[in-house]
């Protein structure tokens, strides 16, 4: 009795500990008739579906899901987890992503039954604890950004951006103005222009100057009363502080525009300088970068938007608000409306508040000091190894350019990135920002030690030397991971987006 190709849930050869096989999909591990689920014994009288719902609505066929034992379920997803790099395994110097270590106490908080088990539609009278968390967090975020009020609803940075742009629109509309353009520097994150479009605006791009900052003259040249506002991130995506920010702010305000601060990189400036004090009117924050929410393989995050007082009346509602000695939901008078199905990513908000309360004001400043210290140390340390795109003091991250390597040795940023994995590190961000050729963007974050930075630097040194002596080894990398370099072009060409889209054999 021999079966061919048994889909064996107990075979662990895809766990990198054991081998380098591919892990079957859960559907291949499925055997009809198997199951894992167990429900509570309810005593509710069983009745056939046909007694409950008119037959016209009832499905003819069941939805087929994987049918696996709990044992195989666990083995499959445990093995998948072993095929995944993460901060908890090692350094993740991914620029613009702030892959810091996030304290586990926040996981505990986010799973407290008294927080995680609360229905979002329960009235304020029964959810005072949650409302107090939201009011406290809003206050802390306003202090950190130098703003007057905030909405906690946006679920991520991009959602915050779009919310901010709608706030701008509402602001101008309330003044009877219809402005059509938003200015964005060419170094901006892709979400910015995409949000601008969804906000119903046209993008006007301004170039960076040779110091990596907004070209002030170019900016001034495009400013007029059709400009609703400007979106900036400061430090910008090159990790550089826009020193002319006061002048930029004045210029934009002069034409009646507003300043939007993309606060994804707030990690660089906590307690040092505040967007509000720089002249910004609207700020979104990526709590999942700065305030200790792990990234979850791509989400969830939270993108609260804080605004100056003249924009408060437009904020999305309802907002948790202290009313007397109780907390209640209050919707601002000229609210743009809801931007989330409920109250935003509440558990992420709780994590962020916990993180802020542990650190306090001084601790938050220290976070930024150490983030910037680490980034500058690695910049200086690597400046003899690779070209630094803009070689002057940076903030929380630094961008290298491998133009020389590519031109002289055919080595691209991606080759260095892939080879770095073999040395035990996640790759930096590559090819972003777009304005730097062969960009490698390194953000060490404050939670990595000097020893780790040094090991990272030594790995880069090794790779730089190898690029000259044995360039093929870089092209062949990575060779130690469960799969080698992946064919992205094939993925787009053959387009297998689900298991069911696989060509039948």
């Amino acid at each position: 009795m021999t079966m061919t190709h048994p889909a064996a849930g107990g075979k662990a050869s895809s766990a990198p500990l054991m081998g380098r096989a591919a892990e079957p999909t859960i559907f291949e591990l499925s055997q009809p008739g198997r199951s894992s689920f167990q429900f509570r014994t309810t005593g509710v009288p069983p009745r056939p579906a046909g007694d409950l719902i008119p037959s016209e609505f009832l499905a003819d066929d069941v939805v087929e899901l994987a049918e696996v034992s709990e044992r195989d379920l666990v083995a499959h997803f445990t093995r998948l987890s072993h095929r995944q790099f993460s901060v908890d395994l090692g350094a993740y110097p991914l620029g613009s992503c702030t892959m810091k270590y996030n304290p586990k106490v926040c996981d505990t908080i986010a799973s407290l039954p008294g927080l995680a088990g609360v229905h979002p539609g329960a009235p304020a009278s029964l959810t005072q604890g949650w409302l107090e968390i939201m009011v406290s967090l809003e206050a802390a975020l306003c202090e950190v950004t130098g703003m007057a009020s905030a909405t906690l609803q946006p679920a991520a940075g991009a959602a915050g951006e779009l919310t901010g742009l709608l706030l701008m629109r509402a602001y101008h509309a309330a003044r009877g103005e219809e402005r059509r353009r938003i200015i964005i520097p060419d170094s901006a994150h892709g979400t910015n222009p995409a949000s601008v479009t969804l906000g119903g605006y046209d993008v006007t791009t301004v170039p960076s100057d040779d110091r990596g900052c907004v070209d002030l003259a170019a900016l001034k040249a495009v400013l007029d009363t059709d400009v609703a506002g400007i979106m900036l991130t400061n430090p910008n995506t090159l990790g550089l502080f826009e020193e002319d920010i006061a002048e930029i702010a004045a210029a934009v305000h002069d034409v009646g525009g507003l300043l939007y601060y993309d606060g994804a990189n707030l990690n660089a400036i906590l307690g040092v300088v505040r967007p509000g004090d720089m002249g910004f009117d609207i700020v979104h924050m990526n709590l999942h970068k700065t305030f200790a929410t792990p990234h979850g393989g791509g989400g969830p995050g939270a993108g609260p938007v804080a605004v100056s007082s003249r924009l408060t009346e437009f904020l999305p509602g309802p907002r948790a608000t202290k009313v007397g000695d109780r907390y209640d939901w209050v919707t601002p008078p000229s609210s743009i409306g809801r931007v989330h199905g409920w109250h935003g990513n509440a558990l992420v908000l709780a994590r962020a508040l916990a993180y802020i309360e542990i650190h306090g004001g001084d601790g938050l400043r220290k976070v930024s000091e150490r983030a910037v210290l680490n980034a500058n140390w690695i910049r200086q340390r690597l400046s003899t190894v690779f070209d630094v795109a803009f070689d002057r003091p940076c903030m929380h991250e630094v961008v290298l350019s491998l133009t020389t390597l590519r031109k002289d040795h055919g080595i691209k940023a991606i080759d260095v990135a892939k080879r770095l994995m073999e040395e035990g590190f996640h790759a930096p961000t590559v090819y972003f920002p777009l304005i730097v050729d062969e960009a490698l963007m390194i953000e060490p974050t404050e939670t990595e030690s000097l020893q780790t930075l040094e090991a990272l630097a030594q790995a880069f040194e090794l790779i730089a030397a190898e690029a000259l002596s044995d360039p093929d080894s870089l092209h062949a990398a990575p060779r130690t991971s469960p799969v080698g370099r992946v064919d992205e072009a094939l993925a787009a060409r053959q387009l297998i987006q689900t298991f069911d889209a696989r060509p039948q054999p």
Binding site: A49, V339, A346, F499
Partner: protein
């Protein structure tokens, strides 16, 4: 002061020296003096982890409406479904939790494959061939669906059923200000959408299945209307219902969105949740958000990677199909785990148990004089609208003292004049939901208590 930074004072010194600096403050010399924050942040001094835990336990204690204390009969888009230990354990493995978006596929096969499996499950549940890697929540997924439909149909007229969850409608309306869609609302009549007034070309028609009063809509009629008007058919569907009901895809829906919270995510006070998004193959290049595809590595080994990236904001910028970057991957992974725990039989059984429990509640309520089913002839799945003699919001407060979260007051979801309920029903409609976790004994007690609490 507690923190998570490794630097010893000596190391800080050493690193500063390497940079030619003498204080950490000098790191910020690039920041013009004039705008620097003087005096530090005005926040309370830091406290330690155990202190913070104490504080949050106190906050948690101040939430009376926790599902371990008030028996939960609330639904309206967020449900108290079973969350088995095995799913929690797997979903909280730190490799999933502390990874970034899988930009480097060679060392991110775990998340990539989990998403690929999630996409497959979502597609099957909605009866469509394509699903993405998740969006923020059901409401914002609906916004994206409308954007896709408008772009595809090249018509910005959008008809929204009044049976779509009021919050979702509000979110669609908020964002329509930016995109410039013209939103028209079709009213509910006897608990079902009345599209009879809709005529002429249209970009999108949106209907919920079931609608927010719990009622089942005639999707075949909506499909016909779409065919007539040229609109794309968008269904905001309850994915749990797919265990019993025909999938929206089987009716010919073009885009189906839904809230995936019921699959492995706790009530969480509303987030993080899980926006589900599925569509037809021709729409794949308009898909918002990430999608994972299958491919091979250099040695021909099967591998997964994010694909069709040129739709996305980081590449396409202002011409992207959407601005979404961070999504809700961790919830998608949890959903893939929960759905594999359920399996074919489990999903069917889950849906059947919800329907049985809901019917059992309706039967127990039957005789009451203070409470009655709002639309007794409307077929429902696991949500039902109850008319209460006292205002629903009052009933909820009274029921809390009896140990129940009785449901959601429709008036709390609706804004001002909303066509989905008659003015007389507006304050007296309680949205109740019965999941597979509710026992007959709980339902009996609930029905009895509600009859009392429902009193004027």
């Amino acid at each position: 002061m507690a923190d998570y930074m490794p630097h010893t004072p000596e190391e800080v010194e050493q690193m500063l020296a390497f940079l030619g600096l003498s204080t950490e403050a000098e790191l910020f010399d690039v920041v013009p003096e004039a705008i620097r924050l003087a005096g530090g942040l005005n926040l309370a001094p830091g406290i330690t982890e155990p202190d913070v835990l104490d504080r949050f336990e106190q906050r948690a204690a101040n939430n009376r409406a926790r599902a371990d204390q008030l028996v939960c009969f609330a639904g309206a888009g967020a449900y108290d479904h079973e969350l088995p230990p095995v799913v929690k354990m797997l979903g909280s493995r730190s490799e999933f939790v502390t990874a970034y978006t899988p930009y480097q596929p060679e060392i991110a096969q775990g998340v990539l494959q989990a998403i690929f499996e999630f996409q497959t499950m979502t597609a099957r549940i909605f009866g469509l061939p394509v699903a993405n890697a998740s969006l923020y929540d059901g409401a914002t997924a609906l916004v994206e669906a409308v954007n896709l439909a408008v772009a595809s149909a090249k018509n910005s007229r959008v008809v929204l059923s009044s049976g779509v969850h009021p919050h979702w409608r509000q979110v669609v309306e908020t964002f329509a200000v930016g995109t410039g869609h013209e939103i028209e609302v079709a009213p509910l009549v006897d608990g079902r959408t009345d599209f009879s007034a809709i005529d002429g070309p249209c970009g999108a028609i949106v209907v919920a299945q079931p609608n927010y009063l719990g009622g089942l809509e005639h999707l075949d009629q909506v499909r016909a209307l779409c065919d007539r008007t040229g609109a794309l058919m968008i269904v905001a569907a309850d994915p749990v219902a797919s265990g019993l009901l025909k999938t929206p895809g089987s009716y010919g829906a073009d885009v189906v969105v839904g809230e995936g919270q019921g699959f492995g995510t706790a009530l969480s006070f509303g987030g993080p949740y899980l926006g589900l998004f599925a569509c037809t193959l021709p729409q794949i290049r308009r898909l918002p958000g990430r999608i994972v595809g299958e491919t091979v590595d250099t040695t021909g080994t099967k591998a997964y990677v994010t694909t069709l990236r040129t739709r996305e904001q980081d590449i396409r910028r202002e011409k992207a199909t959407s601005n979404v970057c961070t999504n809700q991957t961790l919830m998608a992974v949890a959903a893939a785990i929960q759905l594999s725990w359920l399996g074919t039989a489990g999903l069917t059984d889950l849906a059947l148990r919800c329907a049985q429990g809901t019917r059992y509640l309706i039967d127990q309520l039957g005789a009451g004089s203070n409470t009655s089913v709002l639309h007794p002839n409307l077929p429902v799945f696991r949500d039902v609208a109850i008319r209460t003699a006292a205002p629903a919001s009052v009933v909820i407060e009274r029921m809390a003292d009896e140990g129940f979260l009785a449901g959601i007051a429709a008036s709390a979801l609706l804004r001002g004049s909303d066509p989905s309920l008659s003015p007389s029903d507006h304050d007296h409609t309680l949205l109740v939901s019965v999941t597979e976790r509710r026992t007959a004994e709980q339902i009996d007690r609930f029905a009895a208590a509600l009859e009392k609490a429902g009193q004027k």
